[in-house]
């Protein structure tokens, strides 16, 4: 789930050399000599989509009362659509331009709009850091015997929870400020190990649910795991929720085009197919495994299991370690990235001050463990914000030359802000929201694709309008 290649490591102690690495072709196309073959991509993206969030999402499906058919087929279809989004949208554009989305956007929309989008991404990362700190704290609570904290309850039930969050977030903030190099290196060690914990736990608890051979699985899946009955206070999800969730949970990365960061190094445009490995390990196997673990927890009387309870039921202490590590190694780079992103809007304020403020904000959010149960809604809102950005870049690269419109407007007009891009972003989000309300939908993810289409159409129309006016103004100046 987490965009691990953006877990850029910066160490204050060796800032020059690290920045050299970070700025590798950030403002120029990747040269052909530096492109990579398919095998490299397969290895690179296979472990990309497995993190602490997987312990939250699998159980969410169970608690939302999804049926077994809906989960299996929904995840199958949704993940294939996600792979196709990488293969048909993100990777081809990345190979064609060989630029990162952020530099491409700067050329299209101008620095101001990019900074704004960056800052919103930064705030998203802050919230994400808080979510992951909560997940890790849940693991610590269980391993140390502190009073247990329910994640379906919004308010903290013990003062010790708040104290734990303060200590954990202080540590995360300190590391994010002083350098996360070693955390990033540690995360690389955990990546090959994590999928096995999910897979092993999922298999090992099956006998407890009554599965003793493969032929038992389907019946138990329908009667004990994904029963189709939502938990109290949870909305009912069907196959469409699962398809759209699994397709669009990574909207920002595929149709939002942020993965151009990595695919600009691809030798061929079809390398997007490499995302298949990551998707089916992280968003198929791991979600199914954590769903099975959630059912095992419910069976032993834990009605609203925390990710740590889920993991420890499946793998004992190894599961607890897994939750703490997965949560912490995701929270740290998220807060670090947030600091960097928000600094784009306040370039004169030191990064450490911004990261500290965001860390305090994440700490306050972490006091409320129930926010974790809103992870799906949170991801959906960000999908709605990120989708139009990808649409603008996609239209600018592929359709504008055919329509005779000027590409890279800001770059070709002395850094002027491209209000057609900004306008289409706002129109897309506003119209998507109105449509969501009007159609009385219950899931924001349903609006990410319409949002992408609205942004694409409105960007072309507004650009025609804006560029037409500019041409008229130029003709008038020449006549005078």
């Amino acid at each position: 789930m987490i965009d691990k290649k953006s877990q850029v490591s910066l160490n204050e102690g060796s800032i020059t050399s690290q920045l050299d690495h970070v700025n590798d072709f950030e403002r120029e196309p990747v040269p052909a000599s530096r492109t990579k073959g398919f095998k490299d991509f397969l290895a690179l993206v296979a472990g990309e989509h497995i993190a602490g969030t997987e312990f939250v999402i699998g159980p969410l499906f169970v608690l939302h009362g999804v049926s077994a058919t809906a989960v299996i087929f929904g995840l199958l279809i949704g993940n294939i659509l996600a792979v196709l989004s990488w293969t048909l949208f993100c990777a081809p554009l990345a190979v064609k331009t060989r630029l990162t989305l952020f530099y491409l956007l700067e050329k299209i929309a101008g620095r101001k709009l990019v900074s704004l989008f960056n800052a919103i991404s930064g705030l998203q990362s802050t919230v994400f850091a808080a979510f992951m700190a909560i997940v890790a704290a849940g693991g610590i609570v269980l391993m140390t015997g502190l009073p247990n904290q329910s994640f379906t309850q919004m308010q903290p039930s013990h003062f010790s929870w708040m104290l734990l969050i303060i200590v954990l977030m202080a540590l995360i903030t300190f590391i994010s400020i002083s350098g996360i190099d070693w955390v990033t290196q540690f995360a690389r060690v955990t990546t090959p190990w994590l999928p096995w914990i999910f897979l092993a736990s999922g298999i090992a608890v099956l006998p407890q649910l009554g599965v003793h051979s493969l032929s038992d699985f389907w019946q138990v899946a329908n009667t004990k795991i994904w029963t189709g009955m939502p938990a109290a206070g949870m909305e009912h999800f069907n196959i469409w929720h699962i398809i759209f969730f699994s397709w669009l949970a990574n909207t920002a990365l595929h149709i939002g085009l942020q993965d151009t960061f990595i695919y600009r190094y691809a030798k061929r445009s079809w390398y997007g197919i490499a995302s298949f490995g990551g998707m089916f390990i992280g968003h198929f196997m791991a979600w199914i495994a954590s769903g099975i673990l959630c059912a095992a927890a419910i069976q032993v009387g834990i009605g609203d299991p925390t990710p740590a309870q889920v993991a420890m039921i499946g793998a004992g202490i190894a599961g607890g370690i897994c939750v703490i590590i997965a949560g912490w190694t995701t929270a740290n780079p998220s807060l670090y990235r947030a600091g960097l992103a928000v600094q784009g809007i306040f370039p004169n304020v030191k990064r450490w001050k911004i990261t500290l403020l965001l860390g305090i904000g994440a700490t306050v959010l972490g006091f409320f463990p129930g926010v974790v149960s809103k992870l799906d809604s949170f991801l959906a809102v960000f999908a709605l914000i990120a989708a139009p950005v990808g649409a603008v870049a996609f239209m600018d690269v592929y359709l504008f030359p055919r329509l005779g419109l000027q590409q890279n407007y800001s770059y070709n007009n002395k850094g002027k802000t491209n209000w057609a891009a900004g306008g289409s972003w706002v129109i897309s989000i506003a119209l998507s929201y109105l449509l969501f309300v009007w159609l009385k939908l219950d899931f924001f993810f349903f609006m990410a694709i319409p949002g992408w289409i609205i942004a694409a159409i409105s960007y072309v129309l507004l650009s025609k309008l804006m560029q037409g006016k500019n041409e008229q103004a130029e003709i008038l100046i020449r006549v005078r």
Binding site: F186, R188, V189, W193, I197, Q208, I317
Partner: protein, 60 residues
């Protein structure tokens, strides 16, 4: 030396999946499975840092 360390790492990973299959087939108990999972986890984390980041630095 690196080869030996890598073998220990991979054995650790194997200990993170094979016991689950043995538990599923009722060959070992769930408690034994959990102990072996912890052993595998420790073997992985005590050895993998010595070679994995060296390999990663050669990547994209």
């Amino acid at each position: 030396m690196t080869v030996v360390i890598k073998i220990i790492s991979i054995t650790g990973l194997a200990l993170n999946i094979i016991p689950a299959l043995l538990t599923f087939n009722d060959i070992i108990s769930f408690d034994h499975y959990k102990i072996l999972m912890l052993a595998g986890t420790l073997m992985w984390f005590l050895t993998a840092p010595f070679w994995i980041n060296r390999n990663q630095q050669k990547g994209v």
